[in-house]
Amino acid sequence: MKQVIKSTQSVEASPAIFGFWLYLMTDCLVFASLFASFVVLRGQTAGGVGSKEIFSLPFVFLETMVLLVSSLTSGMALLAAQRQKRQHTLMWLTATALLGMLFLGLELYEFSSLVQEGHSWTQSAFLSSYFGLVGTHGIHIAIGLIWLFATMLFIYKRGLTHRLMQRLTMFILFWHFLDIVWVCIFTIVYLIGVI
């Protein structure tokens, strides 16, 4: 099997990437549980605020754009890596990291302003499920960023070796996956919540 990865098969078809896809599907189901709980609990505001009062669509749209663009830049990084262009790869990955951090910053700003206004996760089941779902996505982004920094460091030090190409492919799958989850969050949590 290991020889196969090294020679004949492409990175995308290797067992490791297939396994990583399976992992992504399981993570998708973790999110599915959180989404399902959110949908059940969204009306349970316990007399407190509901989604209409606390969500601002323009702000969330900005967050969404930042994350979508970071997905684009990560894709550009992979294309550059496939052409073995280390400098370009690192440049696109830096852009991805900056956008990712900006997204995380925006999300933390949103969370902290909600808490300061007295709408923390302890106030109602609706707020719990909101913070739980969106926060889990945020934790994934944070983990992704740590992973991205490590990937960048090793690409900088060693160049685009076969093993690093595989890791980079996995990271970019992960990042696109988080993007798709965010699109669902945007639709189910924010858009339906405000309309």
Binding site: M1, K2, Q3, P15, A16, F18, G19, L22, Y23, M25, T26, D27, C28, L29, V30, F31, A32, S33, L34, A36, S37, V40, L41, Q44, T45, A46, W121, T122, Q123, S124, A125, F126, S128, S129, F131, G132, T136, I146, W147, A150, F154, R158, T161, R163, L164, R167
Partner: protein
């Protein structure tokens, strides 16, 4: 300042009472004896190099089985305490257990038996034989495999630390809220439950991914899916269920932990929380879970019955369809665990019917085994005895399951001992007997000698007799109205004699366990007489029997090429040889301590979360991240075995066996 560094740890969590003190003493004594023995015999280096850091699936499998066996003894000890209490505690007698302790024991019993015994034995046995059966040198991701094992061990360690320091949940094995919420269970017990199974569950999830990739990508050349041994099919079904069901467990436990640590309201009784949502979610995992456990047992019996009847498995295709049908259907029945929720007649009718439908593919399998035996030249070795024990008891369990699937009946016996008898009937009669059969069947392949037959058969007899003696009275008590988890009852109900009979049955099972230990010890002692020199002690059918016993680390010096089902049987009967051509270079994974470190850090994280020691939790996560990053970018993780070396090793192991 110092106090806050230790979270909510306090001295009084060490002392619970004399009964628990006995348990603590036994555990600490056992661990210290083990450590002292290892040091005295200077075995630490050997243990680290040969076992703890191994990437060989077979050795990882053996470690799983050892841990699961220790846990089986603990879970069985819990069962004996529960039975003794119930036999004694009627009328003026309160038995010997305090109610709170009794509740912790039944919680620990269920949790340990499912997560740490059944899952451990299952993954152990799969690791032992799956790569061999598929004609592969290892699983797809050896390091992930070792990491999964250590996550499982981390769960085991946390669950056992609760006995020494703190308490275990007193909430039943699935910890229904709102009882398991902070308002009603403020202590660390539920957190021990939560984090030990959360961590072990993530390990299972990763194993599921690993085995699916192994089955789909690492089969021998020529082994199409429909030429795969049925055991591999059963593992595929089971692992598909793992990757679909365990994420729900992870998500659900995560939400419960958010409720308990951050004061959220997913499942609380106030501020809009919805406890029934937890019960739906946990059973959306929990029902597939029982099929995760039983499917590999079905697979093992399929191999054993065909081998010991000297016949091709009857109805291979229907076997595969039945397995896959069960895999799908097991997702559509979860609500039968709470027909009394009040979902309404139509919902209950749907879930009731789906539940009964599962009996059809299961019945297909039972008949296929029977038809395989029909006109076969059956040899009654111990695994076959386990099969017969299974075939009778499991069918009773299946029948009572169909009874419980009728919502109208279920309303009468919900939460009664009838239910308890039913699921023990399927899990002991199905899962446990299956795994014991598989263990006896594949033992020679791993260790190079057979298990003693007569002691094994004595163990089977005690287990079956003890099982029936224990659980038939429990069925009757359930029909008489006895509810589950009773620590005391009124003598006027007339239950005590049946509880005593049931307790005697448990002791008979205990005798079976004694026979099993004796069998193992005696077989090790007489290993030279019991040695398996052929590598094929049962005249087997599948690829694992084509290599010498014990199977070499690399499994196959030359990878087999398969043209038919039962490839080894066909090759022995003059079909195309499965090993041919020249030897070639291959790679094997180097040993790695990464799994051990991740397991240790994750256990530390779990402990920190249970006791609210936040700095330690952060430190543990940093440890996990550092270990992972360092490993991810290691380039040299494998070593090459050259063709010459492969040939030399192959000749040597064949000579040693002959």
């Amino acid at each position: 300042m110092f106090a806050s560094l230790l979270g909510r740890m306090e001295w009084h969590y060490f002392w619970h009472g004399w009964v628990q003190f006995g348990g603590q003493l036994a555990m600490v004594g056992g661990v210290l004896t083990l450590l002292a023995g290892m040091t005295y015999f200077k075995k630490w280096g050997w243990l680290w190099r040969e076992w703890l850091t191994t990437q060989d699936a077979k050795r990882i499998g053996v470690m799983y089985i050892i841990v699961a066996t220790v846990m089986l003894l603990r879970g069985f000890g819990d069962a004996i305490m529960l039975k003794l209490q119930q036999a004694l505690a009627s009328g003026h007698s309160d038995g010997f257990l305090q109610p709170d302790h009794f509740q912790q024991i039944f919680t620990a019993h269920g949790t340990i038996m499912i997560f740490f015994v059944a899952m451990g034995l299952m993954f152990g046995l799969i690791n032992l034989v799956l790569p061999l059966m598929l004609g592969s040198r290892d699983v797809a991701f050896p390091l992930l495999n070792s990491t999964s094992f250590y996550l499982y061990v981390a769960g085991v360690v946390l669950a056992n630390i609760s006995l020494l320091y703190g308490e275990f949940g007193a909430v039943g094995w699935l910890a229904y809220p709102p009882l398991s919420e902070l308002a009603y269970s403020p202590g660390p017990g539920v957190d021990y439950w939560l984090w030990s199974i959360q961590i072990a569950g993530v390990g299972s999830l990763l194993s599921g991914i690993n085995f699916i990739v192994t089955i789909l990508r690492l089969r021998a050349k020529g082994m199409t899916l429909m030429k795969m041994p049925v055991f591999a099919w059963s593992v595929l079904g089971s692992m598909i269920l793992v990757v679909f069901a365990f994420p729900i467990l992870t998500g659900t436990l995560f939400m419960l932990s958010l409720d308990r640590t951050l004061g959220m309201h997913y499942f609380t009784a106030d501020l809009g929380g919805n406890a029934m949502m937890y019960i739906n979610l946990i059973w959306a995992w929990g029902h597939p879970e029982v099929y995760i456990l039983i499917l590999p047992a079905f697979g093992m019996f399929s191999e054993i019955v065909a081998t010991m009847s000297r016949k091709r498995l009857f109805g291979y295709k229907t076997m595969v369809y039945a397995l896959m049908a069960i895999t799908v259907l097991s997702y559509l029945v979860w609500a039968h665990h709470f027909f009394t929720m009040g979902a309404g007649g139509n919902v209950n009718a749907f879930f009731g019917i789906m539940t009964m439908v599962i009996a059809i593919p299961t019945g297909v399998k039972v008949f296929n085994w029977l038809f395989t035996m029909y006109k076969g030249r059956i040899e009654f070795f111990t695994p076959m005895w386990w099969f017969m024990a299974f075939a009778t008891t499991f069918v009773i369990g299946g029948a009572t399951g169909v009874i419980l699937a009728v919502p109208a009946i279920d309303f009468q016996v919900h939460n009664s001992l009838f239910l308890v008898a039913h699921f023990h009937n399927t899990i002991i009669g199905g899962v446990v007997f299956g795994y014991f059969a598989g263990f006896a069947y594949w033992f020679p392949k791993i260790f190079g000698f057979r298990l003693h037959e007569r002691l094994g058969k004595a163990a089977v007899s005690c287990w079956v007799g003890g099982f029936l003696l224990t659980f038939i009275p429990i069925y009757i008590l359930g029909m008489m109205g006895a509810t589950r988890r009773l620590d005391h009852y009124d003598p006027s109900l007339g239950w005590q004699s049946l509880f005593i009979v049931s307790g005697v049955g448990t002791l008979l099972i205990g005798l079976g366990v004694v026979f099993q230990i004796a069998q193992l010890a005696y077989s090790v002692w007489k290993r030279h007489e019991l040695r398996d020199t052929s590598g094929d002690p049962w005249d087997g059918r599948t690829l694992e029997w084509s290599v010498p016993s014990p199977a070499p680390q690399y499994n196959f010096a030359r990878l087999p090429v398969v043209v038919a089902r039962d490839a080894w049987w066909e090759a022995k009967r003059g079909g195309k040889a499965i090993f041919s051509g020249a030897y070639s270079d291959f790679t094997l994974p180097k040993n790695s301590g990464v799994g051990v470190f991740i397991g240790a850090f994750v256990a530390m994280f779990g402990f920190a979360m249970i006791w609210h020691i936040w700095w330690l939790a952060v430190l543990a996560l940093v440890g996990v991240a550092t270990t992972l990053i360092r490993r991810t970018y290691e380039e040299e993780t494998e070593y090459v075995v050259t063709a010459d070396e492969a040939k030399r090793l192959d000749m040597k192991s064949q000579k040693a066996a002959a």
